[in-house]
């Protein structure tokens, strides 16, 4: 069973091909990072234009990589939300064109669920009960997956139960905004990750909001404001900040919150392992701290390799394959939902 997955929700045009739910056959990404870099963030109209130009060549490239043709596919899967509406529409429209041309089933994929389900390509079937932390450019939430299997008749929907989420900024957004403020390139996450390696994570005691409050919600906008205020204070005093220390301390504060909240959720809810998902799961410090903490608490840890953490087409194909197995197909009227939630 072969599924082709198309991802155009944000700033990567990506196509993946997955065989029998677990085997990656192709994963091709045309990144737009350079187009958005001058603006320091993703510009929706620029993204939509670039997706349209990149999509056909990316599909071709993926088919060549997998050594197969469109007519070999059993379904065409595409991210239908959440994401930028104009960007999503390019992928969904193209997917419909492909599905129409070869009379193949169409599958609408939830981008966030795909971030989690991509782990099956490297670790096999996800083993519930588990907690997944989805940390990305637009989202930061902790969900539970308790049931085995893929949802059957009712489809996959509702597999994930929401435990907590940021009440303001997403972690990736905080990384990007702070990076922009201190003059690092875009996207900011990898830049801060790199710079932080030369800094002291304990140098500055930035706030960890809601850390000790019960529940699994978190707040990251106060942290962002605190970093900006700290830098302005130094500037006013004519002191050069040690940016590596700032980066390391800021990153540590974010990571602390993620680790504490996720492990608390896993412990309280009796979940046996943790899955890290989304672009920020590429963060070196986050990965290291989770490894340490899960080991200490006797929890399993599932962390996809870095190229499968940031946006990619393989994740859409993997999630699409699960939906196909569960019989959850879309029709040609499939719409896009910029605000599609991870858990219902």
């Amino acid at each position: 069973m072969l599924v082709l997955g198309i991802e155009t929700s944000c700033d990567e045009t990506a196509v993946g091909i997955v065989e029998d739910r677990f085997t990656l056959r192709a994963n091709v990404i045309a990144s737009q990072v350079e187009l958005h870099a001058p603006y320091g963030g993703v510009v929706p109209e620029v993204a939509a234009r670039a997706h349209l130009e990149a999509l056909l060549p990316t599909i071709d490239h993926a088919l060549v990589e997998a050594g197969c043709g469109l007519s070999d596919m059993d379904a065409i899967a595409v991210t239908s939300g959440p994401g930028l509406i104009g960007a999503l529409l390019v992928g969904v429209s193209a997917a419909k064109g492909l599905a129409l041309a070869h009379d193949k089933p169409l599958i609408g994929v939830n981008h966030l669920r795909a971030h989690v389900e991509v782990a099956q390509l490297e670790f096999g079937e996800l083993q519930p009960p588990l907690a997944a932390l989805v940390v990305s450019g637009g989202h930061t939430s902790i969900v539970a997956l308790e049931k085995v299997g893929s949802g059957g008749e009712s489809g996959d929907d509702g597999r994930f139960r929401q435990l907590g989420a940021t009440i303001d900024d997403a972690a990736g957004e905080a990384f990007d905004k702070i990076a922009r403020f201190i003059g690092l390139g875009y996207p900011g996450g990898p830049e801060i990750d790199r710079l932080a390696r030369q800094g002291d994570p304990k140098a500055i005691d930035f706030p960890r909001a809601m850390l000790h409050e019960p529940g699994y919600d978190m707040s990251l906008s106060g942290l962002k404001t605190a970093v900006i205020r700290y830098l302005r204070r130094l500037e006013a005093a004519g002191t050069e900040p040690d940016l590596a220390d700032v980066a390391a301390s800021f990153q540590e504060a974010i990571v602390d919150v993620q680790v504490v909240k996720t492990l608390r959720a896993a412990r309280d809810e009796g979940l046996e392992r943790v899955v890290l998902a989304g672009g920020v799961a590429a963060n070196t410090r986050l990965r290291a701290r989770f490894a340490e903490a899960c080991e200490r608490e006797g929890l399993g840890l599932v962390v996809p390799s870095i190229p499968l953490c940031t946006d990619n087409g393989a994740m859409v194909a993997a999630s699409g394959a699960n939906l196909l197995a569960a019989g959850t197909l879309a029709d040609l009227e499939l719409g896009v939902d910029p605000n599609l939630p991870l858990a219902g």
């Binding site: 993703v42 510009v43 349209l52 999509l55 959440p82 529409l89 429209s93 041309a101 896009v336 939630p341």
Partner: protein, 234 residues
């Protein structure tokens, strides 16, 4: 020959299947502007009405704009993916050319106009020639005043055809120019494209690009990305 036409550059989308003897099937959607959900089911509807499968289509033509950016991308992405998947030749055409073609029997100077939003219009001027129309100018974007001034400066009698003319009624009335409300539609598009397929003046699907005529709005989408579970806009 069976040509699939898709036109989504204005508030009214349409899809048509055109054979050697004319329109075989067509579907159109009014001003609701849900292109995203309309186009693919409409293609399926036309194929079913014609009683043929996708494998019988021999070419795809699509409106390249100028017009509504999102709509254009929906039409072009669908058209080019369909064509690429079936290895079909494509022909991309401006909706302005299609509009002018719709009044090709008029002996006056023709101005084809499409709403550009933000208080502006897209337009180009045409003249009837044997077998169709010929574009006389570049594609332009500007205000209704600018359009009226350009037409007045020609010193000729003109007919203005297009969409979004309510925006320009006042200015055009003032200089005494007749207007005719219309949108480019897929059946006319396919008819106009048919000789190009016959002469094999076609393109490859990946060559199709919208005619934007304006630079992208350089506004970062923090708000658009700030979504339910994380990412309140700041």
């Amino acid at each position: 020959m069976l040509i699939l036409g898709i036109e989504t550059s204005t508030g009214q989308s349409s899809v048509a299947l055109v054979g050697t003897d004319g329109v075989v099937a067509s579907a159109s959607l009014g001003v609701a502007r849900r292109h995203g959900e309309f186009v693919a089911p409409a293609v399926q509807f036309c194929l079913r009405q014609a009683g043929v499968g996708a494998d019988r289509v021999t070419g795809v033509t699509v409106g390249l704009g100028p017009g509504l950016y999102t709509g254009l991308r929906v039409g072009i992405a669908t058209a080019q993916a369909f064509a690429a998947a079936r290895d079909l030749p494509v022909v991309g055409m401006s909706g302005l050319d299609v509009l002018a073609f719709q009044v090709r029997h008029v002996r006056r100077l023709i101005a084809a106009v499409i709403d550009a939003r933000r208080g502006e219009l897209f337009w180009a001027l045409y003249r009837a020639v044997p077998g169709g129309v010929q574009r006389q100018t570049d594609l332009r974007v500007g205000t209704a005043e600018q359009l009226a001034a350009e037409l007045e400066a020609t010193g000729e009698e003109c007919l203005v055809i297009g969409d979004g003319l309510s925006r320009a009624t006042h200015e055009l009335d003032r200089v005494g120019i007749e207007t005719f409300a219309a949108v480019p539609d897929a059946a006319h598009l396919a008819e106009l494209a048919r000789p190009r397929f016959e002469r094999e003046e076609t393109q490859r699907p990946a060559d199709l690009l919208p005619i934007y005529l304006r630079h992208a709005d350089a506004k970062i989408g923090w708000e658009a990305r700030g979504r339910m579970q994380g990412g309140a806009a700041t």
